[in-house]
């Protein structure tokens, strides 16, 4: 390959070299980092919530009127829902994974602690909660009916028994079995004993990496105000029909309330990650646009050079260059320009990633993103220049003796 004369000739056309090199460098830096952000978001979106999302849905009830009694309404609603054909389990619950709203509390290993050992989402429900969510108990036991209670604004202290996620247990007692261990949700109240461990159940805040896997299910139903949310798991394949029937029945058995928020967990997930999905789409468009613009830049520049050098190409042909040699010359020239751009782009890509880590707390980009990006842009460059290079190779040698 004629690398040295190509480089030497390019150094005499520095403006074009710098412009195209910069374009390639920026493309590499932005494409690599954008792809990394997309992959991060995709991984975030694919994390399991710990629930059976395919068969489960939620409904909310908001009572109105002076005679509305929340406790009675919950009892009636649960009796109706659990008896509804197609329902596997139903439970009242204050919040859910992926809803981005809920309660959290610090957990301390000793009463004397000034700062909590961990923070956890608090799900208030009853003994059917895990069954309704489809969460897997991997150690200990479920709540017994006698352990169930209610929580109002006036409730003091915390329940004596709790169920926590495996990740929270590992955080509090690394390498130990959490079952039977005690923990303080309020150091001024009594401690709670862990009686069960769930394989996985996300906190509502999917973008809070520190606490997203830390959740505690408490054996208390919220009896405050007029709002209640139910989580209902249907038999496989019956979710939509059951949801429709449950909504109608809830409205029917108690007209003193509004039933709303009928939503599958799949929809809950889609809403939770809507921003991430939008960002992925935007970054995808940016990547595609940059690649197209870069390819067009290469095509435009190469076409311009072919036109500008028609006589020169004819001379090279007259001096013995075959069509293949002319084609290879332009491919090699593009390879050199792209390589220079990629050299600069590699530094820019890693620099940009460091900037993102510092300012946006992203992760370090895996090492292979830039090499793969370089290979892709080399390939893109070669494909983009192929058309103009083929046109150059068709310049006849007789062009050398023509006056153009």
């Amino acid at each position: 390959m004629e690398l040295r004369p190509i480089l030497s000739a390019l150094m005499r056309s520095r403006v074009a070299l710098v412009l195209l090199g910069l374009q390639i460098a920026l493309t590499l830096a932005i494409v690599c980092n954008s792809l990394f952000i997309i992959s991060e978001r995709a991984a975030l979106m694919e994390r399991p919530s710990g629930m059976n999302e395919a068969d489960t849905f939620i409904l909310a009830s908001i009572g109105f009127g002076a005679d509305f009694n929340l406790k009675n309404a919950i009892a009636d609603d649960l009796a109706m829902l659990r008896a509804l054909p197609g329902v596997v389990a139903a439970a009242p619950i204050n919040s859910l994974p992926m809803t981005n709203g809920g309660w959290s509390s610090g957990l301390s290993l000793t009463r004397e602690q000034k700062t909590s050992s961990a923070y956890s989402a608090m799900y208030f429900s009853d003994d059917q909660a895990l069954a309704a969510m489809g969460a897997q108990l991997i150690a200990g036991r479920l709540y017994r009916p006698e352990e169930l209670g209610e929580r109002t604004r006036k409730t003091a202290g915390w329940p004596p028994v709790i169920i926590i996620t495996r990740a929270l247990g590992h955080k509090l007692w690394p390498g130990q079995d959490p079952v039977g261990k005690t923990v303080w949700l309020d150091t001024e109240a009594e401690a709670s004993t862990v009686i069960g461990v769930i394989d996985r159940l996300q906190a509502p805040w999917v973008h809070n990496e520190e606490v997203v896997e830390f959740a505690t299910v408490l054996p208390e139903v919220i009896n405050e105000g007029a709002f209640t949310r139910y989580i209902i798991r249907a038999a496989p394949g019956q979710r939509d029909a059951v949801m429709k029937a449950a909504e109608a029945k809830l409205a029917e058995i108690n007209p003193s309330r509004i039933v709303r928020e009928g939503k599958t967990l799949e929809k809950v997930r889609a809403e939770a990650y809507a921003g991430d999905r939008a960002m992925m789409i935007i970054l995808g468009v940016v990547i595609a646009s940059l690649l197209v613009i870069t390819a067009l830049g290469i095509v435009g520049m190469a076409s311009f050079w072919v036109t500008l050098r028609t006589k020169q190409i004819g001379t090279r042909r007259a001096l013995g260059a075959t069509r293949g040699a002319i084609l290879r010359y332009f491919l090699a020239e593009n390879f050199v320009i792209t390589s220079i751009g990629l050299l600069l782009g590699t530094a820019l890509a890693y620099g940009f990633n460091v900037w993102l880590i510092r300012h946006y707390q992203t992760q370090a980009m895996p090492w292979y993103y830039v090499p793969v990006g370089c290979l892709s842009l080399w390939l893109l460059g070669q494909l983009a220049v192929l058309g103009p290079a083929r046109r150059a190779s068709r310049v006849p040698p007789a062009m050398a003796t023509r006056s153009v």
Binding site: S8, R316, G320, A321, A325, P396, A400, S403
Partner: protein
């Protein structure tokens, strides 16, 4: 060295046929310096293009150094052109972005010589035209006469069997033209076979033989064996 028998070249468009060469025959022997003259549009450049394998011909025969070039594909013609022919163009046709060394290197790279052999040939060729001290200069830093000398060095570097010169002094002033012409005469004296297309009768008179072309046909061949006899050794040997 170069034989054309009843050669013809027809340019066809959907409207007209133009006979650029018709029944064109010429025989240039080894070591000859032949000037091809004729008015504009007579077919001189077409002859030069065909002789230099830059264009194909429509009919007849053409043997270059004993090789029948009819039916050769583009790659074979390119290789033969690179090995056997050295071109000197009216406009020099140097590559402006390459220095003199790299300009002379262009045909040698296509030949596939190794780097050491190319360097030896480039230095020898530039030295022969008196420009060895300016190898790193660019064409724009040279006068027209010097640029044509570089073009001659480029043509000589590959040790061709024949030099084809297309109006080699056409873009030069009188003094520079004289210098270039003198160089061609020296090369011929050293054994080079040269075919020079020109419309300048004064330059043509300095060649060994004149071939006059009108309307694509050779109309007059004037022999003037005043410089040297035929059968001289090839250029590379002459330079060594």
């Amino acid at each position: 060295m170069l034989k054309m028998h009843h050669l013809s070249k027809v340019y066809r468009t959907h409207l007209i046929e133009t006979h650029a060469l018709r029944d064109f025959s010429i025989h240039v022997k080894n070591g000859e310096f032949v000037a091809v003259t004729g008015p504009s549009g007579s077919g001189k450049t077409t002859f030069l293009n065909i002789a230099g394998l830059l264009e194909e011909f429509s009919g007849g025969e053409y043997f270059l150094d004993g090789v029948d070039v009819r039916g050769m594909n583009d790659a074979a013609r390119s290789r033969l052109r690179n090995e056997k022919i050295g071109f000197i163009f009216q406009g020099f046709n140097l590559i402006p972005d390459l220095n003199l060394f790299d300009n002379v290197d262009v045909p040698l790279r296509y030949r596939g010589f190794n780097a050491a052999e190319r360097r030896r040939r480039i230095e020898q060729a530039l030295s022969r035209v008196g420009l060895s001290a300016r190898m790193k200069h660019y064409p724009s830093e040279l006068s027209g006469g010097q640029q044509q000398r570089v073009a001659i060095a480029r043509a000589l570097a590959g040790s061709p069997k024949i030099l084809l010169a297309d109006e080699p002094t056409g873009n030069l002033d009188t003094q520079m033209a004289r210098g270039v012409m003198q160089l061609l005469e020296e090369l011929h004296a050293e054994g080079a076979t040269i075919i020079m297309v020109t419309h300048d009768p004064e330059l043509a008179a300095r060649a060994q033989r004149n071939v006059h072309v009108i309307d694509g046909q050779v109309v007059d061949i004037q022999a003037e064996p005043r410089l040297r006899s035929v059968g001289a050794p090839p250029l590379q040997s002459a330079q060594a």
